[in-house]
Amino acid sequence: MFYAVTPSGETIAHRREPGRDPVLLVHGFGSDADATWGATGWLRALADAGRGAIVVDLRGHGASSKPHDPAMYRTGVLAADLVAVLDAEGVGVQAAGVGGAAVGTVGVDVIGYSMGSQVARALARDAPGRIRRLVLGGIGENEQLRAWGVEAIEHVLIDGVDASDETATAILRAAAERPRADRQALAACAVGVASDELPTDPLPMPTLIVVGDADPVAAGADALALALGAGLEVVPKRNHQTTLSSRGFKSAVLDFLTR
């Protein structure tokens, strides 16, 4: 992994996978780049299509800095980390034309999953010119961390007490038990992300939402797609975990990225 340094001094781990026209991949809450995009076969699927990738560990996760202050996990901060990574990779920067005049920004294709999709929406809000096409996986009408409630999340992460929502307990437990997990940082991340309401206006770039039909986290994905002006692909028989690795998700995205 390489490390991009943010203006406030945190380090954000990222890595480039070979291939043309790299896709920026943004993992979800409590996971990291390799678990979300490596083990699930996404990097292989992109490579088979000739596409490169830029994977990142979001702050609070994997090999990146793990501050304990919720204010350090507002969606704008997380989106700025992605900009820092794109800058460090030299992707999508202003191209200099004749006489050094900028001829415009070249955006990258971005795929997010779960909380990573919310961060990608924040990037679309704050730096729309950096995105060419946008894929939002595993999200619905209600942001999951806010829906679960910050207190319930802290109970699971810090005190080890189950939440009333089974999916929440399973996802949070798995997050807390990962090898490099910092439970305080994860709780701060949940609070920070949950404190922001993301815009539900139509997005300027082509956008595709992909969800499993057995994923409670993605409830109301059709309404979100309508609001954002996005396409919607529903993967049959898949829950929040198994949608990510499904062939249906990958083929829908690879098709969308070549349109």
């Binding site: 699930t40 198994t242 062939r247």
Partner: protein
């Protein structure tokens, strides 16, 4: 031709088994080593396993939506005779073996 059977590999994190979600190849397909073979779900996550072998798929030992334990047969390939016998297990990311000192240190 010879038949080679591969077992469900150790998926790490103390996991003892998995559920087959979807076979990504069909019986009779020729599959390259490293190409997507099968998608499985554990209690912690869903993962895609690459093929451990180049060869023709002749048998799935477990159906979709069924469970199997680490070490139980997963898939059988038909491979040319000259490549059979070289490998018979799913390659694992094994840590290097401990070096053994063959002579006593001088001090």
């Amino acid at each position: 031709m010879a038949k080679l059977t591969f077992d469900l590999p150790d998926l790490g994190e103390g996991l003892i088994g998995a559920t087959v979600l979807e076979w990504l190849v069909s019986i009779g397909d020729y599959v390259e080593r490293g190409a997507p073979l099968v998608e499985v779900e554990t209690t912690k996550s869903a993962v895609e396993l690459p093929s451990p072998q180049s060869g023709t798929v002749v048998e799935f030992h477990v159906d979709e939506e069924h469970d199997l334990l680490v070490g139980e047969p997963l898939v059988t390939f038909d491979v040319p005779d000259d490549s059979a016998g070289i490998v018979g297990t799913v390659p694992a990311e094994a840590p290097p073996k401990r070096r053994v000192r063959l002579s006593l240190p001088d001090d």
